[in-house]
Symmetry: C2
């Protein structure tokens, strides 16, 4: 995983330099971030916030890294299913599983979120938490994105890495609050984003403590524990953080309630949505495989939240661009 | 809450002084803590642990503060029930509720944990998270312990405050992992123990995001979400922290699995149980209202975990003692 270490590190190093957010073009989006941060960090100012209250929450898929052609964790799910198939000849009889194994994405997509959740739950269970972490680690060190032929961990947004580093340099604690699997993201979040496991919040399946001959383990069961999306995000923020963030960053309607919850607090608040408008360097869409940016975009306009136009606002998308 | 601020603050101030743990008598318990901390913090040493991996988890009831004559949160439950009773004349017809209202603790105790959970769930629900925090804040600023006639937040253990401060001064991140209510403890944990909300883990009821006319709220529902005791503790540690602690502190069989989980990791590990032996200054017992110290004490002996004999090992129990 050494290759994925460099972006976050170099962003951190630059964060305290003279020019914050170098990969952001000058404009209202960049300026709104800088104005907000200056406001909450100016001692004695009207908008000053104590450093322990400087909590910033980030969605992951589509906000910190690319989410197309489908959430990267789905590629992991499909690869796991294929890897496990030889031990499960009975899957050939199950039309849905057979469709996945044959790469028939049309049939898979027709089942929608429910079908994918079933697959995710199934492929993510039946091992200990330590074993699962190893499986993810091995997968993410090798699997490549179909369009860019890059490791998934290379498809993180350079401007967002700089933003994370800029916020941390200004006393913020940065959290991920994502619909993605909590134990999936924790494998790489620290190395890639500089966000430690205890600041990663996500969806989860049930785990069970068991005392085996070799010692205690946490076994992962094929049962959904918590879905960290939409109305789930404020619930998870309250459960894990226990204080209301002052800044929230997302890219889809699944982030709407998180942005509402964050901005409803007293004092200076900041909300930002990433709108993808760059079909050359990344993707241009408002409707993705499973999510969309619609209601939240309207609310952003009404409430004057910051909307990032990727094509206009970002000088550079990925760390590997020169 | 100004009065409760001083102990934690003064413990922190002393932490970096020449003599750590001043309220601990010299002996094997104190020495085992110092040896462990020196080991994991000595760069290049065989037991060195990177500071981000220095995670320490503490039970609360009976470990950081007194838990007799019953968990302090139960006093809150009973007081809430009495405060709400005038609006619920129908409770007089319910034998269990009537017993609580009449102070008939024998009948209450006979129902065991299940009955108390029902009461707790009921009295803790039906308001927003913000409203609940205010209710707890007001209660804990006034309610007094029946034996000591002190605020509950004064009945915290001075030696444990010093231990928390000592660990933090040595790069540890300290967490509470308690069977107590997560939103109950968060109201005072930062002021009393110096442990911020995002490092407080506990039992919880279900909350629901709702968009009201006045803005979004999280409403507390009368339904158990998670019981953070026994086998629940390692599950919650994994969910909230995402890495295995290297040190764990408890006082009852409800902490056993947390200590097992912590000490089963590789490298230097530390586990400690507080055994109450001081009937004059606090209480002497191994069986409390709802818990006991039995299996864990045996396992401590087998595995050479540290057992604190409060009477022998603690020079001072409470901060208010001179």
């Amino acid at each position: 995983m050494t290759t994925v270490l460099s972006p976050a590190t170099s962003a951190s190093e630059h964060a305290q330099g003279d020019v914050p957010l170098p990969s952001w073009n000058e404009g209202s989006a960049k300026q709104s971030i800088i104005d907000f941060v200056r406001g909450v960090t100016t001692p004695g100012g009207a908008h000053f916030v104590k450093h322990e209250e400087r909590i910033a929450v980030f969605d992951n898929d589509g906000t910190l890294w690319t989410e197309m052609p489908a959430y990267f964790q789905l590629a992991f799910v499909f690869d796991r299913l294929k890897a496990l198939a030889p031990q499960h000849p009975e899957w050939k009889e199950k039309p849905f599983y057979a469709a996945v194994l044959q790469g028939d994405m049309k049939t898979v997509a027709a089942r929608g979120l429910r079908g994918l959740l079933e697959l995710a739950t199934m492929t993510h269970a039946g091992m200990t938490t330590d074993e699962f972490a190893t499986i993810v680690e091995e997968w993410i060190a090798k699997a490549r994105h179909p369009k860019f032929n890059r490791l998934y961990t290379e498809l993180i947004f350079q401007p967002m890495l700089e933003l994370l580093a800029y916020l941390r340099a200004n006393g913020f604690k940065t959290f991920i609050v994502s619909g993605g699997g909590i134990e999936f993201m924790r494998v790489f979040a620290d190395k890639v984003y500089g966000i430690p496991p205890e600041q990663v919040i996500g969806s989860s399946i049930v785990t069970k403590f068991e005392m085996l001959a070799g010692g205690p383990v946490l076994t992962r069961l094929p049962e959904l524990n918590f879905m960290d999306d939409n109305v789930g995000k404020p619930v998870a923020i309250n459960m894990h953080i226990g204080r209301r963030p002052i800044a929230a960053f997302g890219n889809s309607d699944g982030d709407l309630q998180m942005l509402q919850w964050t901005t409803a607090g007293a004092g200076s608040r900041f909300a930002l949505l990433v709108n993808r408008t760059d079909s050359n360097r990344e993707y241009a869409y408002q409707i993705s495989t499973l999510g969309k940016l619609d209601v939240a975009l309207n609310e952003a306009r009404t409430k004057a939240w910051t909307v990032v136009d990727m094509k206009q606002d970002w000088k550079r998308i990925y760390p590997f661009e020169t």
